[in-house]
């Protein structure tokens, strides 16, 4: 009878725990912070930190894994979360960069361009406005972008119109700020253009 007790307890605990979208099983917290807080303000509970809400990342494996795990996040949704793929090509400011499993740890700044995700034989292409990409040593790639659209959602006529408009604004710009804004517009639209053609 007593041998069954832990099993029954575990089953009842699992039934009771509700899964929140980003709370891990054991909350990790910065103990130095908690102690410093308790010393100065003993009455109030210390606030939580983001670390306690994140799923812990896998450790660096000794051999190169076969697939790379991609998290592609935008402010409005997580486009891909923990998806295992073969290769990702990201538009870094230094050019298109291909990321394979076992890639060296990198922080890459992104420019407007196409990001493509290769899984087996299928390729999904997104046009990314800009952002950052982190590639960790444990073959996890995080791509954080401000805006991303699948390439087939882009309207060619609007791209042409935008390009013409921003080129004209660039030539007629007077202040540095206007010039910078117009230059950004031109960059993005020409990248969109090449995304559609290339």
């Amino acid at each position: 009878m007593f041998r069954q007790a832990p099993r029954l307890l575990a089953r009842s605990m699992m039934a009771r725990s509700r899964p929140f979208s980003d709370v891990p099983a054991q909350p990790a917290s910065d103990s130095a912070f908690v102690e410093a807080w308790k010393k100065v303000i003993p009455n109030i509970d210390p606030p939580q930190t983001p670390l306690s809400f994140m799923k812990p990342r896998p450790t660096t494996p000794s051999s190169i894994p076969s697939k790379i795990t991609v998290n592609f996040v935008l402010p409005y949704q997580s486009e891909l979360s923990a998806k295992e793929v073969d290769m990702v090509i990201i538009p870094a400011t230094t050019g298109q960069m291909g990321v394979l499993p076992g890639h060296v740890a990198t922080i890459a700044e992104l420019k407007p361009g196409i990001m493509s995700v290769h899984e087996g034989s299928e390729v999904t292409k997104y046009f990314v406005s800009s952002g950052f990409a982190f590639i960790h040593a444990n073959s996890v790639a995080d791509v954080v972008a401000v805006e991303a659209v699948p390439v087939d959602h882009i309207d060619p006529s609007l791209v042409q119109k935008g390009l013409a408009e921003f080129t004209q604004k660039l030539s007629s710009a007077s202040t540095d700020l206007e010039k910078a804004e117009a230059q950004i517009g031109v960059d993005v639209h020409s990248a969109l253009n090449s995304a559609l053609t290339g």
Partner: protein, 329 residues
Amino acid sequence: MAMAAALRREGRRFAPLVSSSSSILNNAAAAVRSSLLSEGLGPEGARSISTQVVRNRMKSVKNIQKITKAMKMVAASKLRAIQVRAENSRGLWQPFTALLGDVPSIDVKKNVIVTISSDKGLCGGINSTSVKISKGFYKINSGPDKEIKYVILGEKAKAQMVRDSKKDIEMSITELQKNPLNYTQVSVLADDILKNVEYDALRIVFNKFHSVVSFVPTVSTVLSPAVVERESEAGGKLGDLDSYEVEGGETKAEVLQNLTEFQFSCVMFNAVLENACSEQGARMSAMDSSSRNAGEMLDRLTLTYNRTRQASITTELIEIISGASALTG
């Protein structure tokens, strides 16, 4: 003169009693009706206890109950809309924490505490919690040659902080939710803050939304590029940052600066959405308990009203019957 008037009143009261016995019942009914109608003077000048006061209170409590129920439903619908966006934005800060770690116990010279609160009230205790935690951080990080400033988002925290920490408030921003929250607005706001405030570490205090009844005060720490550089060289939690290759930009410092600015705007976006969700959830539960209290108060008032009404009827009957028995017996 007054006595004559009183006698006349008495006379008026007894006159119908003398007429016939059936009219006694009519008069009793009239007396009851009169106590419901007017302020205590029935027909023929019969006095009765007034229920007007209690009735006024009942009306106002019922109106309050209706208003709080409506507010609860409005908050519920707003919560539904914004909860979806908050949950979608939760993936945004995770890559940054995975890369740069999270060190709230970091010791720096210039701390800036960004407190996020709501503009409107009636949302329970969440704004007070945020303010208490911000003041807690002030106490922890205060010391010789350390400076701490506040940046306040939202009217409610501003009202509470202005009272005792007015000189430490660097910037305050209100009317954040006039237009629906979007990333562009928050990134412009973040840019504004970064331009105008000198910082080594930014601590963003907000209420994270767990469920409709649970809001957890949370603090996110964003470090300035100089501090990140210093910590990664010193080793410790950010030690492996050095092992990362940096692509793009002229120098590592430039990329780090863009990175920390981007991190700040992403973390702010999530924090603002989560706080808005917590605000609506807290308002729902506050309005719910308020309507329940109003309902209980209404029950108690109804009992008082009935008691008062019955007492006045009884008094009328006693007066009538004692008057009649005085005449007959």
